[in-house]
Structures are given as C-alpha cells and as structure tokens.
C-alpha cells in the first residue's frame, strides 16, 4: 500500500514538473455546454466547473433530449463531477491539453404515470484541448439504479451504464 501511495505522489510531482502552472493558473472558472449519451437517453447539459489545483469540480444541469424534445415529457438531469488533471501540457502558445481520470454522479427523472428515477455513478476520463475556448470529451462506465413506485411497492433495478460526452468549454477567468 505504501508503495502505491509513494508512486502516486511521485507521479503527481512528475506531472506537475511538466504541467507547470500553465492551465490551472490561467483559468479557474469555466462554463460549458455539452451533449452526452447514456444507456437510457441522450442529454444536453449546461455546466459550471471550478479548477482547484489538480482537480476540476463541476455541476451540470440538463435535460433528456429524447424524453423532453421528442416525447414532450420533461426529463431533468443533474450531474456532479470531479476530475483529476493528471496530464497538463501546453501545445504552442495558444493551446493546452488536459487529461485525467475522475468520477461523475448523476440523477435523472421523468414521469409516465408515476415518476421514474435514475441514479448513476461513473468512473471515467476527461480530455480537453484549448485554452480560452476548449473542446472537451469525457467518457466512462459505471452503475445505474432505476427506481419507481409500482402499484404495490417501490421497484429498484440496477445494471451497468456508460456515458460519452462532448462539449465546448469557455474559461471565464
């Protein structure tokens, strides 16, 4: 266990050397518009994220595209995520490259006769390229819990889920 911890800390300092202070120091608050695809629906999200040292922490609010726009059934979607910027590089003067693993938690719901809820937990990666405007790609796999109230009792079903997300990020400061 100690070895793993030591190698993790060494790798952090290694990436810090190469990553310098570049991207993390220049833009701390970011907003983004993203489209993500999951097992149950595709989603459009608006997200706000904050960069704190190596971590990007964010929250997104969105809606299920198929349910809301094609079936006229509002399907709100909430996400919380945190990514660890493992690799940060400058590409030329104007661009940067960030890559790292992270976790994403989300919640979705919509109504049929009763409300159907989905809770997901994912492990994934974040990749972003650019500086002021960035292109971002995230993907991951995880666990999904579907729950709803049947005529008699509360039903819960779980299975594997995945997400693939692309978006545009704007660094406010």
């Amino acid at each position: 266990m100690k070895r793993i911890l030591c190698s993790f800390l060494i790798s952090l300092s290694f990436f810090d050397l190469f990553g310098q202070n570049l991207l993390s120091q220049q833009s701390k608050l970011l907003i983004s518009a993203e489209v993500s695809y999951q097992r149950m629906d595709a989603f459009f999200n608006i997200s706000v994220q904050k960069r704190i040292h190596y971590f990007e922490i964010g929250a997104a609010l969105g809606t299920g595209i198929e349910k809301t726009f094609f079936q006229q059934r509002f399907s709100p979607h909430l996400e919380l995520y945190s990514y660890f910027n493992l690799i940060q590089r400058e590409i030329g003067r104007k661009n940067g490259f960030v890559f790292g693993p992270g976790i994403l938690l989300d919640y979705t719901s919509y109504r049929i006769q009763n409300t159907i809820n989905y809770k997901d937990a994912f492990l994934g990666y974040n990749l972003s390229v650019g500086r002021k405007f960035k292109f971002t790609n995230q993907a991951g796999i995880g666990y999904m819990l579907e729950s709803f109230q049947s005529a008699e009792n509360k039903i819960k079903n779980s299975t594997l889920n995945y997400f693939v997300k692309i978006g545009m990020v704007y660094a406010i400061n």
């Binding site: 097992r39 149950m40 198929e66 079936q71 049929i112 579907e146 079903n157």
Partner: protein, 262 residues
C-alpha cells in the same frame, strides 16, 4: 409588440394537441424488448417479464414459447441457444433438467425461464401473449400439435384470464382456437384478412407495424377482430403505430410507449 405577437402565433402554430391513445393496449415485447440497450434484463427472462408488468399502465407482455424434448414449455426467442446462453443446440433437443441449468450470457446471467414461472405474475386485467413456436429447429420439422396441446393443457392456460396465443401456422391456429383465444400472426395483410374473415373463432391479427396502414387496421377492426402491431423500437415507431389506432401495440420500448400513450 410585433415580436411578442409573432412569438405567440408561432407558439400556437407549432404547439399541437397530443392525440389520445388511452384505449390502446401497451404490451412489452418479450418483456422489456428484444435486444434493446435500455432493457435492463434479457428478453424472455423472468426478470424482464416481471419488470414490464410492474410499470403502471402496462397492459401485459408477449413472450416466445418453445417446447423441450420432454414437453416442458420454455421462454426463448432464437432457434439456437448458442450466442445468447451458456448452452449450445436447440430447446427442442434438450431435456428439461439440462435447460434448468442454462443461463443467459447477459450482465445479470438470468436463468432460462419456464412458461409456468410467469403465468401468475400478471394481474387479472393484464394480458399475456404466448408466441407459439411450431417448428422444431433441431429436426427442421413441424412439432406434433397434440404434444404441444397437452403441454399447454398441463399448465391449465385455458383457465387463466387474458392469456392469448399468437400462432403463425394456419392449421395450428384453427386447431388451437377450439380451446384457446388465438391471434394469427403474419406479415402478409391480404392473406391475413382472408384467413380472419374465413375463421370466425380466431380473435385477431398480430402484424409488423411496417406492413400495415391505418386504413388496413380499420379493415381488420371492421371484421370485429382485434389487431396488435409489433416491431416498434423507437418513440417515433410507437407514435406511428398508435396513430393507426390498433387494439394494442407490442413495443420493444415499453417506457417510451407508455409515455406516448399517456
């Protein structure tokens, strides 16, 4: 002011009243759908059938029924077990105890399900459609109908309310209709219409959505027959099928179908 008027008129123009489909049955195809990514469980498994019946507003399920070597009835869609399960070969060539060990190679490793296991899952208003497979996939021949009938008789299906058989073999349909409520299944509308008009004891037709128009659906209902459409895998497909005003739709996406109907 002009802008506001324009927005309001546009809103009125583009907003539309959703047609009411309240009287149309929503049936889950093989439980929660065949090979659907949003189906949590494998088609024709106990878990999938159970889940499809638990959604409020669900009017029932359709399952595929095959007979093993000993005359026990199983829920399974494909001709061959390989690819979908841990076993090779066909249902028709297996003993009951062999099939009892078989599991789907899906995420949840659901066990192969006997028809007997799901008969009491539905409530009295929900419908159970049994898609009867008359072919022995192993010998590539038609199964002896009397053996199949005795397998059905063992389960006393005729005593359970709202159980219907879907049969694509005309002679089987006529024979089984003497005891059970039978729906004829075909992709050929003209042939089906002729068969239904000649056989008054056949309850109705089960046909793919793409092979029938709204007008043709009305032609079947005018014969005092019920009609169920299947092979809808998207909200758009469900909507198209509901617009034809059939008795019901057998949808691969029951959640989406329930939204469309409601």
């Amino acid at each position: 002011m002009r802008l506001i008027s324009f927005i309001l008129i546009s809103f009125l123009f583009f907003s539309c009243d959703k047609e009411s489909f309240k009287n149309i049955d929503i049936i889950g195809h093989a439980g929660m759908g065949l090979s659907m990514q949003n189906s949590i469980y494998h088609d024709n498994s106990f878990e999938a059938v159970n889940l499809a019946l638990l959604f409020q507003g669900s009017n029932g399920v359709e399952v595929d029924v095959q007979m093993d070597k000993k005359g026990c009835l199983w829920l399974f869609h494909n001709d061959n077990l390989e690819g979908e399960t841990t076993e090779n070969g066909c249902i028709n060539d297996k003993q009951t105890d062999e099939l009892e060990q078989v599991k789907y190679t899906s995420l949840h490793n659901e066990k192969l399900t006997k028809l007997q296991q799901i008969l009491l899952l539905k409530d009295s208003t929900q419908k159970l459609f049994l898609d009867i497979r008359d072919m022995n996939a192993f010998s590539n021949s038609i199964i002896d109908i009397n053996i199949f009938k005795s397998a059905l008789a063992t389960l006393e299906i005729d005593n359970i309310k709202n159980v219907f058989l879907i049969v694509s073999n005309q002679s089987w349909a006529i024979n089984l209709a003497q005891t059970y409520s039978v729906f004829y299944c075909s992709d050929n509308f003209e042939l089906s219409k002729m068969f239904l008009s000649q056989n008054t004891n056949i309850s109705g037709l089960v046909i793919r959505n793409k092979y029938i128009s709204k007008k043709q659906v009305a032609e079947i209902t005018n014969l005092n027959k019920r009609i169920y459409l299947f092979d809808m895998r998207s909200p758009k497909g469900n909507r198209q099928a509901l617009n034809k005003n059939p008795t019901g739709i057998i949808s691969d996406d029951i959640r989406a179908a329930l939204i469309e109907r409601n």
